[in-house]
Amino acid sequence: MSVRVQSDPFDAGAELTAFSASVLGAGAVVSFTGIVRGDNDLVALEIEHYPAMTQSAIEAIVAEARSRWSLSGCLVIHRHGTLAVGEAIMMVATAAPHRRAAFEAADFLMDYLKSRAPFWKKEIGPEGAAWVAAKDSDEDDLNRW
């Protein structure tokens, strides 16, 4: 189980290869990568976080996922700082004996990272900057679990 909070870019493909090798014998690996969208002439995305809380909050979410599904492994990487369009913001990878647990755990992790991990996104555009507002649907997503 690995949780990394970092400003440095990461190579999602290389991370997935290394993760898959680390869970040798698991029958299923699922991964999700979140990428900065090029909507609305976005120039950059700034991600602020709460350094004293971020790691422990994500670890608690991962612990909850492990209590619900039998996972062979789990990886979460989340960046902060200034990101350009097309850069990977974060990734989740889960491994399990069978596909359904891996899919569901990855989906669960994404829903919780979205609204329970202390990150705040700000969009920098040609006309200025604006904080990204949380959506009501983000909270609804938590109720799926």
Partner: protein
């Protein structure tokens, strides 16, 4: 005495990322009332507390949660990770 930290637009409206506050507030809501009474920038930041989340010693909490024994209070908008 508690350390109070602010993030995202809450930090921008208040104008500082953290401060030490001398307070006898029993709950988070009492602390917010004390801050609002201080200066207009706090009033602007806390105008709609339904839009603000709170964490006590890095754990999510509610506005009616007691502050006894708490060292760090954080105020921030709903999180937008992922």
């Amino acid at each position: 005495m508690v350390e109070v930290v602010y993030f995202a637009w809450v930090r921008e409206r208040i104008g500082i990322p953290r401060e030490t506050v001398e307070t006898g507030a029993a709950t988070v809501a009492d602390l917010v009332d004390e801050l609002i009474a201080r200066e207009a920038r706090y009033e602007a930041a806390f105008a709609d507390t339904t839009a603000i989340r709170v964490a006590l010693d890095q754990e999510l909490a509610e506005f009616d949660t007691p502050l006894k024994g708490v060292r760090e209070v954080a105020f921030f908008p709903p999180m937008t990770g992922g």
